[in-house]
């Protein structure tokens, strides 16, 4: 069984073939890395998977059932939660509320529930709060639960984004450059958190520039260059791949 399968994914922007026949498959319970030089098509790939762009061609399967990331709301409901390259939180809301918003897609309270606060509505609200606390504790930011999101330190904002995504109960947690802008110590802590998330049974897909982090925690990788897959496999095999070395160390216009 594979969690997410992508077959022959392509996307063109004007004259640029941003993603060119990319295929990959992510197994349940692994951390999968998507790396490549700038302009390789990682983020486009990511946005295709999360429904922000529509693919020109290609097939997706989530949990072995065909899946078409048509719009962003449905992608989250189907079980893919994402974080953003530049942190995007609900700034004026509290940290706890940010995570509670993450529960939105798994809860049902509507207008009548809000107004009447009947028993089931109260139960659901209590459960939302409880689970939000759970994810705050899991990501280590529970002490700041009542801060405004924008008042958090940068590293904690990143964690909050992950907590909010986890609250949607995703099958696949997709992280867009989670270590961007972090210092070395924060990166180590992030690596530990991501491994803890995997050990709790989740599957992760991450785009990342930091080669050390990616090589350290990813179970498998796909390397993109110019929109094409140039290598995929375990970090060890990718590291020694001739194409990858050429793409990174020059001999290539994008290098």
């Amino acid at each position: 069984m594979t969690l997410l399968t992508i077959r022959d994914l392509s996307k063109r922007f004007g004259g640029v073939q941003a993603v060119d026949n990319v295929s990959l498959s992510i197994q349940p319970g692994e951390i999968y890395g998507l790396i490549g030089p700038n302009g390789a098509g990682k983020t486009t790939c990511f946005n295709l998977i999360t429904g922000l762009y529509r693919a020109d061609s290609g097939h997706f399967a989530l949990n072995d059932t065909p899946y078409s990331p048509r719009n962003v709301e449905k992608v989250t409901r189907a079980g893919i939660a994402r974080t953003f390259q530049n942190v995007r939180l609900f700034n004026e809301m509290s940290v706890l509320e940010n995570v509670m918003v993450g529960r939105h897609v798994r809860t049902h309270n509507g207008l009548w529930a809000a107004l009447s606060r009947h028993r089931r509505a109260r139960q659901e609200e209590a459960q939302t709060r409880e689970l939000a606390w759970h994810w705050l504790e899991f990501t280590g930011i529970a002490p700041f639960a009542h801060y405004r999101a924008c008042d958090l330190a940068y590293g904690h904002q990143r964690r909050l984004e992950i907590a909010r995504a986890l609250a949607t109960e995703p099958l696949l947690l997709a992280l867009d450059e989670p270590a961007a802008g972090m210092n070395a110590a924060e990166k180590v802590a992030l690596g530990e958190l991501l491994q803890r998330i995997r050990n709790s049974g989740k599957t992760l897909l991450m785009i990342e520039h930091d080669v050390k982090l990616v090589m350290g925690i990813c179970d498998r990788l796909t390397v993109l260059d110019n929109g094409k897959v140039i290598a995929s496999g375990s970090p060890q095999s990718v590291r020694s791949d001739g194409n990858v070395i050429a793409a990174w160390l020059g001999g290539h216009k994008h290098g």
Binding site: E97, H104, V105, L115, H146, T168
Partner: protein, 369 residues
């Protein structure tokens, strides 16, 4: 911006209760005090201020909670007011005498029916306005809603030809006065052996309505729905990525806000006994928006403060500007109306410069770790 979580219970609960009790007493005796100090004129002003509070609370759902800049909110007030005027005045029967065959006693629809109908119809108009504007943000949304407000006003003004529905610029007069449980809200009523001016009755009724609206707003705010609205206000794209159905929640905000406006409008028609397009100008929309922004967007006590200040202060100015100027300069140098507009603009500019989040914004207190 505001949540129960971010509020601290800083004052001890006993002080809070004492304060609340004082506030309730003040609210109860306010019309008596105002009536004995300034006469019925001031009670009337307070009643109008209460109507504006209802409007501001409705607009707050759209602008404050959901972050949709609506510059045509008064249109929903107009819809409610005209609905009441049409269903409870002699206008339709005098325009179409044929109807008298079916309605020999005239058209006097009960307000128990009119008020919910006004809420529903306004909510529907809210959705009609919301649907085409879903993709618009910020200034663009403001312009479209502004246009919508003007369209409603111009419709009311011109729907007297070819068939006379709204009686055009002349407006509709003779709207039935409110009567609840056999008590008429006009003249002086004898209740429990007391003589109570109808303006007081209106006051208490409107306060009750506002309490109800506040309860609804608070419950909405601290719910899954309220969080979804806040999320949309903070970042629409991310809200969508969280699985929030942005379209539905925006429409819900428009509908909820509009329904409060419609109820206020129906009560306004009954209160005045007369409606005309001149009550629903762009300036009124801007005034209600200013109450929300000046008071503190999204913060219910702030919005109420804004509404009280922006209806109360101009009236104070209107009544005091002439005597004060005569005492100071011996003559009236500046017309009170001009002075009013001057101060209005000045107040807005000052608030935006000094307190951009409003006079009474939601408090954010951080919990010490």
């Amino acid at each position: 911006m505001t949540t129960s979580l971010l509020h601290t219970a800083a004052p001890s609960s006993r002080r809070l209760h004492a304060g609340l009790a004082l506030f309730i007493i003040a609210v109860i005796i306010a019309p008596m005090v105002a009536g004995s100090v300034g006469g019925n004129y001031w009670v009337r002003i307070i009643d109008l201020a209460l109507l504006y509070i209802m409007l501001a609370l409705g607009l707050n759902i759209v602008v404050g909670f959901t972050g949709l800049l609506d510059m045509g909110f008064i249109a929903f007030y107009a819809v409610g007011a005209y609905l009441a005027a049409l269903l409870a005045s002699p206008h339709l029967l005098s325009a179409y005498p044929l109807l008298q065959v079916w309605l020999p006693e005239g058209l006097h629809t009960s307000y128990w029916l009119i008020v919910p109908a006004a809420a529903l119809l306004s909510a529907l108009c809210g959705i009609l306005l919301g649907a085409p504007t879903l993709k618009l943000r910020g200034d663009y949304l403001a312009i479209v809603t502004l246009g919508f407000g003007e369209i409603i006003r111009i419709l009311m003004r011109n729907l007297d030809r070819p068939i006379n529905i709204t009686n055009g610029a002349k407006g509709i007069s003779g709207v039935d006065t409110l009567s609840l449980f056999g008590v008429k809200f006009s003249g002086v009523q004898h209740l429990f052996g007391l003589k109570i001016p109808s303006l007081w009755l209106w006051y208490y009724l409107l306060v009750l309505m506002i309490v109800l609206i506040i309860a609804i707003c608070l419950r909405l705010q601290h719910s899954r729905v309220g969080r979804a609205w806040h999320a949309i206000r903070e970042d629409e794209d991310v809200a969508r990525a969280m699985g929030i159905h942005v379209r539905n929640y925006k429409l819900l905000a428009f509908a909820m806000g509009a329904s409060f406006g419609g109820v206020a409008g129906a009560l306004f028609a009954a209160f005045q006994g007369f409606v005309s397009p001149e009550s629903f100008t762009l300036q009124e929309s801007i005034a209600v928006l200013a109450m929300v922004v000046l008071g503190g967007m999204g913060h219910i006590p702030g919005v109420i403060l804004g509404a009280v200040l922006l209806t109360g202060l101009p009236e104070l100015l209107r009544s005091q500007a002439v005597p004060v100027q005569q005492a100071l300069f011996g003559s009236v140098l500046i017309d009170p109306e001009i002075l009013r507009q001057l101060f209005y603009g000045l107040a807005l500019v000052l608030v935006m410069l000094l307190r951009p989040a409003g006079l009474w914004p939601a408090r954010h207190t951080e919990v010490k770790v």
